[in-house]
Symmetry: C2
Subunit: 202 residues, 2 copies
Amino acid sequence: MTKEGLQSDTTRDRVLSTSAGLFCQHGYAGVSMRKIAESCDMKAGSLYYHFSSKDQILTEVLNMGIEKVHAAVAAALRESSVDVSASDRFRHAIAGHLHALLEYSSFTSANVRIFRQVPPSVQHSTLEVRRRYEALWDGFLGDLKSQGQLRNDVDIRSFRLMLIGALNATLEWFDPELGDITELANRYADMLANGIFAERCT
Amino acid sequence: MTKEGLQSDTTRDRVLSTSAGLFCQHGYAGVSMRKIAESCDMKAGSLYYHFSSKDQILTEVLNMGIEKVHAAVAAALRESSVDVSASDRFRHAIAGHLHALLEYSSFTSANVRIFRQVPPSVQHSTLEVRRRYEALWDGFLGDLKSQGQLRNDVDIRSFRLMLIGALNATLEWFDPELGDITELANRYADMLANGIFAERCT
DNA sequence: GTCTATACCGGGATAGAC
DNA sequence: GTCTATCCCGGTATAGAC
């Protein structure tokens, strides 16, 4: 890799990270190439040396967000596969999601907040990455169920949708500077695994 | 109320309902007064007879969304206060939220999707309505807890945030044309009240 | 690799005719 | 109550100098 290649990469990365923050704060249409450039101490025209369009920047931002979370959950499951109880693996997977979600929040909350308002072509180019992440959870939850760890009447897809929805919503109120993410994960895992009622009921 | 007053109200309502759909689909900045007008078979200038600005339209849309959900949950709690088990009241409250959320989805998903990307002045003017809704849930959950219906180690604010996050996320995938909202509510209420694990664990 | 300059389009809001 | 016309600003993207 050449020197020019490396330098180009770091400028690219700075643009992507800055854009992510702007997209999640102002929405797709609320972010202009001029504003992205200004936040990077550049001029708008220069961005087109690195990216062919605003939509290309957006696509890369969205995919990076999902990939960060996917990698964190996959690692959590890999590192706790033997000699670990089902509830601990569940807890670790949730902690992986929340840590990546809240620590790369510019990239991840761009996904959560603006996915439905970006052009269909951009939505389409992130679908595969999204499906792979859903499949990771469905696989894990399916394993738990076939081991008899889950109640038989729990539908895995419904639960996965509820779980990811609940976790992603923490972006709207949790501040990693003020609270402990691991503790948050433990609370959520406990409520989701055991429920909140004193007595289980039908 | 005069005839003119009534006619003005229906035009206002048409504009609000159309705008809600556009805002939740395209985001705050992605919706122009010209597009709102076009979707209402009007011209942009005419909108300013009914509203003083784009932000005023947005503010009314956001508040209407929360108020619809608030009213539905309040009604569900009112109608099931006597002779109804705690888990049934819980179920009914969740059903109230989901029914209003998904049936007035233009107004409600404008809230869920774009609240963080609207101008701070608009955010501010919806805060009171949002707080009142949170207080409704905190009151109900606090009652359940003081009656001993909830586990002692469950934190009400954490659970309320998790609950509302999980419910609101259904906007992103549930289609009321294809599925039964009451059944969805029952599934969610069951998973949240009882947990998903076969055996409760620490 | 970044700049300036520019083409072309569309934004919110207002004024005043009808 | 709705229209047209207009003001002024800012959008994406390109061309070509440096």
